[in-house]
Amino acid sequence: MSGSVTRAAHALAPLGMAIALLGGSATTASAAPQPMGQCTTSSGAVLAVDFSKWGGPIYRSCGTTPTTGYELLNQGGWRTTGTGHDGPAFICRIGYSGHRGGKQFPPPEQDDCVLTPPASAYWSYWHADAGENTWEYSQLGAMLYKPKPGSVDLWIFGGTDIEGTRGRPAVTPDQLRARNTQPTGGGRPAGSKPTRQVQPPPPGVDTGPAPTRTRTVPAPTRKAPPSPSATTPAPASVSPSPPASPAPPPSPSIPATSPAAVAAPSSAKVVDAAPAADAEHDSGSFVPVVAAGGLVVVIGAAAAVAAKRRRAE
């Protein structure tokens, strides 16, 4: 008797361990959204999401470490949607409650998020560790990658190839990362607007060519004065400002003289996204389910009647 109990306990042990693991991962969810000023060059992870394909800015926000790329992207008003095929781990849509009421992009008309999106139009994931000024194409999914303190995570929408040589981000990590060495602006007034303008990039920093977007919509709410260098017709020029940082390789897919590249200054502005409440979620009504159930029952009854009549004949 006691033997069977021990056996059962042994059998249950892995299950308990798995639950414990789950609990453990739940406790690491102490990762919290922070105002942008709390991120410094050596602490916190900066998250940046480029909505410029839909006329939005590049939002950036700050989160504490340790965290995962997924957690960073699902806190402080950020919310993602996975695909029906791959689950939540594959980031198919991204939305921020402070941007167009939390509408997630790409909208369902552009991608239904049922199957894995094509390599020509998806959210690609890029990292830059502290002090680095080149983007590294993520080799791990959002749920498995753990951003290091002081690093920048960037999500851009578009196409890449497997090596990540095409469709590289147009912004540089230095344009997005936190510059302060000490946390600042911790006590934000409660009634402040959720977003605020950041300093324009320092002069001499080119925002780079636009990525291979087919439909670049200029940001409608663009107020920031374009940086002086923004009109330089040599978009492939690399950012000279950060000393002792390797220059980002110019993206080979964009010819330096193409008109699209000249139009690059319309590159989206960078806006800080303050931690916000999650967008309202409406779980809908169960009436359609009841209605569909009723329809199925009616059709089933019709089939039963047909079957009975056949048997009678």
């Binding site: 798995a18 029906g84 190839d161 059709i299």
Partner: protein
């Protein structure tokens, strides 16, 4: 009072049936077009309500319009297969964990298999959420629905008559398939006959001995039957090459081969978004044209007529049309929000029932009464001896 003789005669195609429609079998292609169109419509949606509606509609049409032929009893096996598909999808989703988020509803946890760092992309085991199970089930349900559509076509359409519609160039292929299709029922018949004969002779009908006693005569029977069939086909002129010259055969082969290559390249170009544009539709169209030309040329040497060809009348148009219409509505994106076709389960919410697609699917179900009723099975003839024995 006009005499009955002066009344206009009933038209030959519309005999007086006392208000009831004449039973006849629908053209098999009409059923296939209907079912494939419905499967196309299903491929567009992930909404479980719409999918259940499709299965209900398929069930109704199959019950109302199937015949009593052996192939017409198979729909329930397709339903079992559909269940298996859903189960496999759910199990795979649970085993190959796709991650759980703090917002998900935790169901249970499987023991996690540790994977080394360099293999961190794949997780095996781990917590399973209600959302993951439900989305795997709806995903599986969609494939299951498509399977059921094909199953309905197989149940409703006579496969032998469907093969007659093949273009002339594929005639011999069709004959071969027809012959092979009739093998299974013949074997069953043969086994039953041998079994009965053994029982009448009071031989053993069970065990290894009996197996040998049954298998050998059945094989012999099959061999004899096929030789008889070959002789009969030979005497009726099958396998005749017709008036084809060696040159025309070569041209046909070249046309078909290049056409197939074009179709393959076109399919690749259409599916891979990074492929050059020229590889998509143009290659597809060129391949299709070459194939049609090849089939035409190859069909020229087959000069055969069809015995009692299936007619294509209003009923066929109606059945095929209501299937195609449902696919057009679901792909048309008019009158409903495209997001309702693919509701997200993260976060959990009740699916909606968009009225236009639901109406389109119900319209496809109209095939159940638009098609003519199937021919009633011939009642088993009661032999006189048996009646005497019964009385």
């Amino acid at each position: 009072m006009p005499s009955p003789l002066t009344r206009p005669p009933l038209s030959a195609s519309q005999p007086d049936t006392g208000g009831r429609r004449l039973p006849r079998t629908l053209h098999p292609m009409a059923w296939w077009i209907w079912a494939l169109a419905l499967a196309t419509a299903v491929s567009r949606t992930n909404n479980p309500l719409l999918l259940f509606l499709v299965i209900a509609v398929l069930g109704y049409v199959v019950t109302a319009r199937r015949t009593e032929a052996p192939w017409a009893r198979g729909f329930k096996y397709y339903l079992y297969l559909a269940l298996v598909v859903v189960a496999i999808r759910v199990v795979f989703r649970a085993v190959f964990a796709t991650g759980i988020t703090p917002n998900d509803h935790f169901l249970f946890a499987l023991p996690r298999v540790p994977t080394p760092d360099w293999y961190a992309g794949i997780e095996i085991g781990g917590p399973v959420s209600l959302e993951a199970v439900l989305s795997a089930a709806t995903d599986g349900l969609r494939i299951a629905c498509m399977l059921c559509c094909i199953g309905a076509a197989n149940t409703l359409a006579n496969p032998k008559r469907a093969l007659r519609v093949l273009p002339g160039a594929l005639y011999e292929l069709g004959v071969a398939v027809t012959v092979s299709l009739s093998v299974a029922p013949q074997l069953v018949q043969s086994v039953q006959r041998v079994h009965r004969a053994r029982r009448l002779r009071a031989a053993r009908t069970k065990g290894l001995d009996a197996l040998r006693g049954i298998v050998v005569p059945v094989l012999e029977d099959a061999l004899e039957r096929s030789l008889r069939l070959a002789a009969a086909m030979d005497s009726r002129g099958y396998g005749r090459a017709g008036t084809a010259t060696r040159n025309s055969r070569r041209i046909t082969g070249a046309l078909m081969l290049s056409g197939m290559c074009g179709l393959c390249a076109g399919a690749y170009g259409l599916l891979d978004a990074t492929a050059p544009r020229i590889l998509g539709l143009p290659a597809m169209a060129a391949g299709a044209v070459l194939c049609v030309a090849g089939l035409r040329l190859g069909g020229r040497r087959v000069t055969r007529t069809t015995y009692r060809p299936d007619p294509w009348r209003f009923d066929e148009w109606a059945v095929a049309g209501c299937g195609v219409l449902s696919a057009v509505v679901l792909f048309g994106n008019a009158g409903f929000n495209a997001a309702e076709l693919n509701p997200s389960l993260y976060p959990l919410s009740w699916p909606t029932l968009p009225p236009v697609p639901a109406a389109a699917i119900l319209l496809a179900g109209a095939a159940g009464f638009l098609s003519p009723p199937p021919q009633a099975p011939t009642p088993p003839t009661v032999t006189p001896q048996r009646t005497e024995a019964a009385t």
